[in-house]
Amino acid sequence: MHRLNMMKLRPLYITISFLLICVSFYSILTWGFQPSIDFVGGSVWEIKTNLPKNKIENTFASNNLTINTITSNNSSFTVKFNNIDNDTHQKLTTDLKKEDKDLEELRFETLGPVLGKELLKKTIFAVILSSLALLIFIGSRFSDWTFGLGAILANFHDAIILTGMFSLLGHFFGAEMDALFVTALLTTLSASVHDTVVTFDRIRELKHQNIKIDWTDLANHAITETIVRSVNNSMTIIFMLSSLVVLGGDTTRWFAAALLIGCVCGTYSSFGVAIPLVLFFKKLQKRRALV
């Protein structure tokens, strides 16, 4: 099989990654996120009713409540507002039921602002902890710290881009950042490492076969041999996730979208980021050895 020279394209990878990271930071810093009530507290109320929108708005106004957003979908409404106690919730329900006795409550969620901060802290902890665990695991499996470091940095690359893209989705399509995003982020990290490890594994195997070959050659060789499987594998995950994005319910649409972005990004970063980084570290090592 013709050997691909994927490492020749390193300047291209650097440009792509640099641009994506810049866009991500720009979006995170200027637009931020659409935080769900998981993070900032508040209420989400989904009701099924034939009432017109303004009737619902009036009922809220007469209870001295400000609606943050109200969206309708067929005959159901999703209303977002500040967090309320149970008595107010009950009063709202009875008031609306007076107007429409067939009103059905689909979902009600209310949450004080305390829990949000906890979630944010825990997310950061989880990312750090899993990165450390993976660093140690990969470092010891390959008995080479550059591999561990390369994989983890590629991971951070994916995490930044996923978060940035999510901020963009939030700005343009109203995707909300919730507890599930945390899950998507961590899954992306592990899926990204999955691909990277497969390629590293091949480098290790080739290295055992002939000691003298140059690292760049090894990398090209290993990528040539694993790229088909990486792309094929991503295709299967992409099939599963796209069907969730298109056919799944509203609750998990953005979750699946985040996983999808993470999956594509993870496949790219194993040859576009992790391996070039390992090569870079190897060069540094060599230079230091010469000095």
């Binding site: 099989m1 989904e46 099924k48 009950q90 059905e104 409550e105 689909l106 979902r107 009600f108 969620e109 209310t110 949450l111 305390v114 829990l115 906890e118 979630l119 802290k121 825990k122 997310t123 902890f125 989880a126 902890l129 899993s130 665990a133 993976l134 695991f137 990969i138 507890a179 599930l180 945390v182 899950t183 899954t187 592990s190 899926a191 490492v193 999955h194 490890v197 497969v198 594994d201 195997e205 041999e225 088909v228 499987r229 094929n232 594998n233 299967t236 995950i237 099939f239 599963m240 996730l241 796209s242 069907s243 969730l244 056919l247 799944g248 319910g249 609750t251 998990t252 979750f255 996983l259």
Partner: protein
């Protein structure tokens, strides 16, 4: 490999598939007049799939527990008491699937109550939020004509003036003469006086102990107790004695709780989610199967059979463990299917390489599995590490304890283990049996 061993493995796979298929069978299938019944299984467990609140509908309530007014050494036992008491309130008969959990988050104590399928949430909130009230009431004479209709609450209705606020201590003790567990209670001086009066009045009669209007114990007064130290003995085992002591504590040290999160899903939305999730999973699976056959032909077909077995084993484990399925859990399951296929792709690509080098098909297959194993092992280990951090098995308070994230982690971890089994062991042995032979 020796033929005998291959066939042994093959029949093992057939056996596992068969058993899983039976467990997943609905109890009765009717098709064009032919009715099939599921054979009776020697499993006592309920084999229905369990759905979480987001799929089945129901409510989840999170309370903040105020322990600032409780003495430090009492906090742990009073939390236990609170939990037991709330459990008793939401699930008096012990039959519903509601759960009450304590959780510590950033130094704050939380109580999480999950009520599947509850319709009247307001009633539940009222019941849970009530402050515990412990009271001692004495037996009264019931006129003979009313005995037939009298309830225990009518019989034990004479207020003694003694309530939970006078209690200073309750604990389980072992009787030194007969070795049976009993519950010791202690009153403060004021309570001791009231209790002495009550034991005089109801000597050789019963004083019932009420917690929130239900009776938790009916001890008979055997002597006048004036020092404020009483012992309740009877047919206790260690657990029932401990429960009684905890319930007494619930009335002695009532902890104020404050509702901070309320999460409610109607059954309609839940049903809708299940349907959409299943359709999405089936479409995704169909696409993956077609992709595998299109790409790898005959090998892909064997991998697809492996996937069907994967699905059957997964569903069986969900039923047996049991795993409560939530929507994120379904997503974890769907994602793990993708990862299960990955093992196959790794192997098949390896096989292609080896055949390209001119190796015989059977040799290429064995080499493919052998060489891909290292990658499969390492790559899946990484996913398991992340899965475990998400699942947080030791309940570390600095990590996530949310049910949603955990539901996802459980199905992901299970999926990876089963995926390795079907992707490597099952497909390999199926290929050995049905593979091309020269």
């Amino acid at each position: 490999m020796i033929k005998k061993k291959i066939y042994r493995n093959f029949w093992l796979i057939v056996g596992i598939t068969f058993i899983c298929a039976i467990i997943n069978m609905p109890p009765k299938i009717s098709f064009q007049g032919i009715t099939l019944y599921r054979p009776t299984l020697p499993i006592k467990r309920n084999l229905e799939l369990r759905y979480g609140l987001d799929l089945a509908g129901g409510a989840s309530l999170t309370y903040d527990i105020d322990t600032t007014k409780t003495k430090k050494e009492d906090v742990l036992s009073s939390l236990e008491s609170l939990k037991l008491n709330i459990e008793r309130r939401v699930n008096p008969e012990g039959v519903s699937e509601s759960t009450v959990q304590l959780s510590k988050q950033n130094g704050e104590n939380r109580l999480i109550v999950e009520l599947p399928g509850v319709v009247d949430i307001n009633d539940a909130i009222k019941k849970i939020g009530k402050t515990a009230y412990l009271v001692f009431k004495g037996e009264v004479e019931i006129p003979p004509e009313a005995t037939a209709t009298a309830t225990p609450n009518d019989v034990y209705s004479k207020d003694t003036g003694v309530d939970g606020s006078y209690l200073t201590h309750s604990s389980v003790k072992i009787n030194t003469t007969n070795g049976e567990p009993e519950v010791a209670i202690e009153f403060n001086p004021e309570g001791a006086k009231l209790f002495e009066k009550a034991t005089k009045e109801f000597l050789n009669k019963i004083i019932a102990i009420y917690l929130d209007d239900t009776i938790i114990s009916y001890p008979m007064v055997k002597s006048v107790i004036s020092d404020g130290n009483a012992v309740i003995s009877g047919k206790f085992d260690t657990k029932s004695a401990k429960d009684l002591s905890l319930l007494l504590d619930a009335g002695r040290l009532p902890l104020p709780i404050n509702l901070i999160r309320q999460d409610q899903v109607g059954a309609t939305l839940g049903r809708d989610s299940i349907q959409k999730g299943i359709i999405a999973a089936l479409v995704g699976l169909g696409l993956v199967s077609l992709f595998m056959i299109g790409n790898y032909g005959y090998l892909g077909l064997i991998a697809d059979i492996g996937l069907v077995i994967y699905g059957l084993i997964t569903l069986t484990l969900y039923r047996l463990i049991p795993v409560t399925l939530t929507f994120p859990g379904l997503v974890g399951f769907i994602l793990s299917i993708g990862m299960a296929v990955d093992s196959n792709i790794l192997v098949f690509e390896r096989m292609r390489e080896e055949t390209r080098k001119g190796k015989d098909w059977n040799v290429a297959m064995e080499l493919g599995f052998g060489r891909a194993w290292d990658s499969i092992k390492d790559a899946n280990a990484c996913t398991i590490i992340t899965g475990l951090i998400l699942f947080n098995p030791f309940n570390w308070s600095f990590l996530n304890t949310s049910g949603m994230v955990r539901g996802f982690a459980v199905t992901l971890i299970l999926g990876i283990f089963i995926g390795i089994f079907t992707g490597v062991f099952v497909t390999r042995n199926l290929l050995r049996v049905f593979g091309r032979k020269k």
